[in-house]
């Protein structure tokens, strides 16, 4: 039995009456049965999707790979590395509080910058491997005249790790590019979280989020960068981020949360 390529879709020929259901939704309808269970092919398709998602969570973040991808994308900012207080994946998954704090002894060069970009493994290092460089390049080319801090690659990191990192770098705004929790058909989705005046203790309501950066299935780098830059400009103008910015929604592209 050969595994099918790509996403599991069960779209049948038009003369199959079940295709009426299958064509109506991406949900796994009309799978058929073997007794009370699933046919073998459907069972294995499901396991394959779960395996890809599980592996995406547990793939270690590869700094060399990210550095190479950034160079390929023409990004010439230096790349610094930080670790959170979670020493390993097992701890990281059980202790989100540790993933929000930099490891003891973390040193970052203090400066004065308009923006810092933090590349955080989150729940899908694969998303950072595949989509961080392209997103960073698209964002930077839209921000002429902005002073941008050295890039920071963060291991075992949650979104809120961007708060102490952004503060230490002296950034007015921090954007954390983070691997999102893998779904069964989306193991490589990158999320972008913007926080104005980052410092420890910022609440989630003080952030703005763009989710599902994942070409070709989700947002493209250009779409994500356009939206992010609109948010960045609004944030700089208002001196804030989060719910306040959302209320200014008229100025922003649709779908910005």
């Amino acid at each position: 039995m050969t595994a099918p390529e790509g996403h599991v879709g069960h779209h049948g020929p038009a003369d199959d009456p079940w295709s009426l259901l299958r064509n109506a939704t991406r949900a796994r309808v009309a799978l058929g049965r073997a007794g009370d269970g699933l046919p073998t092919a459907r069972e294995l398709e499901f396991r394959a999707a779960h395996a890809v998602a599980r592996d995406a969570v547990h793939t270690p973040l590869d700094a060399d790979r990210v550095r190479a991808a950034l160079a390929d994308a023409g990004v010439d900012l230096p790349l610094l590395e930080v670790h959170s207080q979670a020493p390993d994946r097992e701890t990281y998954l059980q202790r989100p509080d540790l993933g929000r704090r930099p490891a003891d002894g973390t040193r970052l060069p203090a400066g004065e910058h308009d923006l810092a970009l933090v590349l955080a493994d989150g729940l899908s290092p694969r998303a950072v491997h595949e989509h961080a460089a392209g997103t960073v390049a698209a964002v930077l080319e839209r921000l002429p005249g902005w002073s941008v801090a050295p890039l920071v690659l963060a291991h075992q990191a949650r979104v809120a790790l961007g708060d102490p990192v952004g503060e230490a770098l002296g950034a007015r705004i921090v954007v954390v590019l983070v691997g999102e929790r893998p779904g069964l058909s989306s193991a490589d989705s990158l999320g972008l979280y913007l926080t104005h005046d980052p410092r420890p203790g910022r609440a989630d309501s003080e952030r703005n989020c763009i989710s599902n950066v994942r070409p070709p299935h989700g947002l493209s780098y250009a779409q994500a960068a356009d939206t992010l830059v609109a948010l960045l400009q609004a944030s700089r103008r208002l001196g804030a981020s989060g719910v306040v910015l959302k209320d200014e929604g008229a100025a922003l592209p649709p779908g910005v949360g």
């Binding site: 109506a24 939704t25 796994r28 309808v29 799978l31 059980q94 989100p96 779904g183």
Partner: protein, 470 residues
Amino acid sequence: MTIRRTTLGGHTHEFPSLSDLLAKATPARSGDVLAGVAAESQEQRVAAQYALADVPLATFLTEQVVGYDEDDVTRLILDTHDAAAFAPVASLTVGGFREWLLVRAAERDEAAISGLARGLTPEMVAAVSKLMRNADLVAVARRTRVVTGLRSTLGLPGRLASRLQPNHPTDDAVGVTASILDGLLHGSGDAVIGINPATDSPAQTIALLELVDAVISRYEIPTQSCVLAHVTTTLRALEAGAPVDLVFQSVAGTQAGNRGFGVTLDLLTEARAAALELGRGTVGRNVTYFETGQGSALSADAHHGVDGRAVDQQTLECRAYGVARHFDPLLVNTVVGFIGPEYLYDGKQVVRAGLEDHFCGKLLGLPMGVDVCYTNHTDVDGDDTDTLTLLLGAAGCSFVIAVPGSDDVMLHYQSLSFQDVLTARAVLDLRPAPEFEAWLARMDLLDDAGRVRELAADAPAARALLAAAR
């Protein structure tokens, strides 16, 4: 404040408060470690269980883990406590209560066990569950009877119902309908056809309610619908005259947790009254539906009790049942593997929590179901959900949740499949709700042995249902 002590293995273990004792006695789970209340060693955990076994049940009526003056959930629990129902076990310790339950379960004395519900507080039930093994939780829950109804009857012996969950990422009417039909063709949906809306707005909620109501009316299905919007949204839909069968709300075990969910007890009272007024039931008058889950209070930083001490997540979960039961629900389910590995880390913890929640909810008088589920960052897979599902079937679980192919394409997590429900029913000889089973027979969806048949797409029954997707 009583300091409780146990000497075990040459060490004296001290537990300075009731909440500390309950937390330290709890079987291991990541959420209690995260909250900083878990036992620090296996020996300390068992020492706490020894000490807890000696605590009189009546202590929980006078010594609180969350203060009476600060918390309306505590006030609700204590102000509605039924001393007459409590009388049969009033003189027992927690350890003695465990044995009392096991003896009644072995004697199949459903009336004795089920009659306690209003005499028990959530903390008593949480406490005894911490002394019980998985099989104890199954054995007692199996002999605890809670029957509810609206247009189908749930909780009867020998039955396992399911919530058909036809979620769609954009609430697309055709997509939702396809999933509903797929579920009905597999014999699912007798507990409820319940949609988590992608957008929580009155307009979207009304559109979905009308969609499901049309399917139910067209095929005269003896079940109910629910759109799991916030209770304030459902109230707006009720005001607009929408066909609301059930008022849904997520609830937590502290006033602060419920504030985090944007609800008060008054709001729930108002919504229930409005739904009751519609009189949409045929076999019963239970018009509320609640979801809960261990860790929800902690995730909202609403897990503190007396003197600011953190309370363990399973005790708080039981207190959420104390809220739910006040509103005579048709359905309550814990969403046991949804919240993530920082609360329940792996299959062992999820299975344990699912059995605890089911047992505790049922003993408190709730029509308890379970969303047997997991996310991809938790160490859980289909083998674990099989284990929990079959154990819950043996425990007499009221209902489970099922989605097409186990894959919820809106909420991005995995629950049971319709096939999983068929398997559990077949293995354990369980049947759908009686009204729904009769409907399946009328629609020619059952074979001679009463099993849901696998239909060819051109079978008359399939064609009749598929017509709705056109």
